[in-house]
Symmetry: C2
Subunit: 335 residues, 2 copies
């Protein structure tokens, strides 16, 4: 078997010192050599099939250029574009992502964090945050994406949940709806909690009363849990503000089961504008969040944090946009 090429072989081919080759090959020190030299070294490395020994470098520098990305479930369509944004921004900085899914299980999350730390992960991006999560005990840089904690000690990238729900309620009020229900997401998650609070606020702002029968809570951000929660709605509502798009699809099923048509009988609005929301029957009115940009932004915050762990914890809130489609209509008649 041939011996794998070493940094010396690369340096010889590129006609530079080994130290220069090493600097050129390490993304975090590449700026110390000229672009031309860096390119020559990278070309030489590629032509030789040189793979720098990151395990040795990890021990020496105590960094791995690997970030851990932990999400609830990649099969929830909101996450793939977020993860893709994270990876694209990490890659530009010479980083890669180790991935893990928790299914919302806190024990599994702890195991993943431990296993990733064992692999010298430089930092974490978590889409699994719960509102009451404690500050991480160690000082591994961590950024939350999509969800955040109630305390402001961990940097986060979230959406303007408040503005999204206010725009939704305003549209429904303008269409003549008064009996507006909310099938809320889990209240232990900032996304569920903030949207629920915004619903109460927005109803009050439009002078609309909220009957307790019009609010139910979905146990998870899934179609099934949304369906179960929607079945518990009472009181002849004419519109539903759903906690997210998957919950909205659960509302579709619950309405169909009761022989009610959307939007003729009941309007439904989701949140996220997940892929294929426009292809649902009826096409789903929803609040568009910038999935991919959230991922990019989260990765950038993490890289900043790795570079300077003592920098203040930024909280980035990205703007949202109400996208009106076929699932809402003006109210049929005043009761």
């Amino acid at each position: 078997m041939e011996k794998p090429p070493t940094i010396k072989d690369v340096a010889n081919l590129a006609r530079v010192h080994a130290a220069t080759a090493s600097r050129a090959l390490n993304p975090s020190t590449r700026a110390k050599v000229s672009t031309r030299t860096a390119n020559r070294v990278l070309e030489a490395a590629k032509s030789l099939g040189y793979a720098p020994n990151s395990a040795a470098r990890s021990l020496r520098t105590k960094t791995s250029s690997v970030a851990g990305v932990i999400i609830p479930d990649l099969r929830n369509p909101v996450f793939p574009p977020i993860v893709r944004g994270i990876e694209d921004a990490l890659r530009e900085a010479g980083y890669m992502a180790l991935m893990g899914n928790t299914d919302g299980d806190e024990e599994r999350e702890r195991e993943l964090l431990l296993a990733m730390r064992g692999r010298q992960t430089d930092g974490f991006i978590l889409a699994t945050g719960r509102r009451n999560d404690p500050q991480p005990e160690d000082r591994v840089p961590t950024v939350l994406v999509n969800r955040r904690t109630d305390s402001s000690e961990i940097p986060s990238v979230t959406n303007d949940n408040n503005a999204g729900v206010h725009a939704t309620v305003q549209m429904l009020a303008e269409l003549g709806h008064e009996r507006i229900a909310h099938v809320a997401g889990p209240q232990a998650l900032s996304t569920g909690w903030e949207r629920y609070r915004a619903y109460l606020d927005a109803m009050a702002a439009h002078g609309l009363a909220v009957d307790p029968e019009w609010v139910t809570y979905s146990e998870a951000f899934t179609e099934e849990a949304g369906y179960e929660a929607a079945k518990r709605l009472q009181g002849g509502v004419t519109a539903i503000v759903a906690g997210n798009d998957l919950i909205a699809l659960g509302c579709y099923s619950a309405l169909e089961e009761r022989g009610l048509e959307c939007p003729t009988d009941v309007s439904v609005v989701g949140f996220n504008d997940m892929p294929f929301a426009n292809r649902q029957r009826p096409a789903l009115t929803t609040v568009r969040i910038p999935h991919y940009e959230m991922g990019l932004e989260a990765a950038r915050l993490l890289l900043e944090r790795i570079a300077d762990p003592t920098a203040p914890a930024k909280r980035v809130i990205l703007p949202v946009e109400l996208i009106r489609r076929a699932s809402v209509a003006a109210i049929k008649s005043v009761h």
Copy 2:
């Protein structure tokens, strides 16, 4: 700052020798200690927040318990459940996945492979295979998922493309269709090529002629490319076998643009049964592939291969199932 706990601290707390603690903490040697001891050590490690130093272990054992997973684009809905299956099977074996997207760019794929090898990746699972890809030069264990190469030297997990397309053509023939078109996927990919070949075979098997005007080629497995290819169809076809579900959605758009209704005027069948295929308008008839199981199987093949790199290269072909939905109908009238 406190010193991080060491393996000795864990061993002391669990009242075992350091070597035993080390064996219990390493998934590949855990079977050498009793379950009770292993659990005690794992509990001790957890309570101390012990993170084994994998970089040191990587240098010593030349393995990292990390696998590289490279796919075209996580935003294609066929990949998230495959990736999830891969991760679940890897995790059971104490492995984690480093993730990368190529957008089908071969240069980007080479860079990713190099960067992942530099991180001591023990093996690769690639969903990016092209039919004419060479055998990897080095001996890093590699498994292909969903797509395979023409040569049989690399283990692979694919679907029964042939049976899926045969079932599709048979259903359409039984509904009275004769002018059956094919909007094929890229022919450099096994999925595109095998389904195209199966279409020709199945048409011949049913005694149906194929007019060259009824076959067009999509440049990519995307909705946009499928739309462009579907626009080039000629010859008054009454049914379309699409290369995959995204291409089928492109066919929907092209038909709508020509004022044709699916399924009244033209039936459309996809391939993959991607998430939300049932929620399209009309609900898409398609061939269901076992996404999650493909991922599980690919990870198992890789782990086998890592354990014994000289074992014969298995090719696993998983069964598929035709799922009939609203996008197909009996032919309106015989021309």
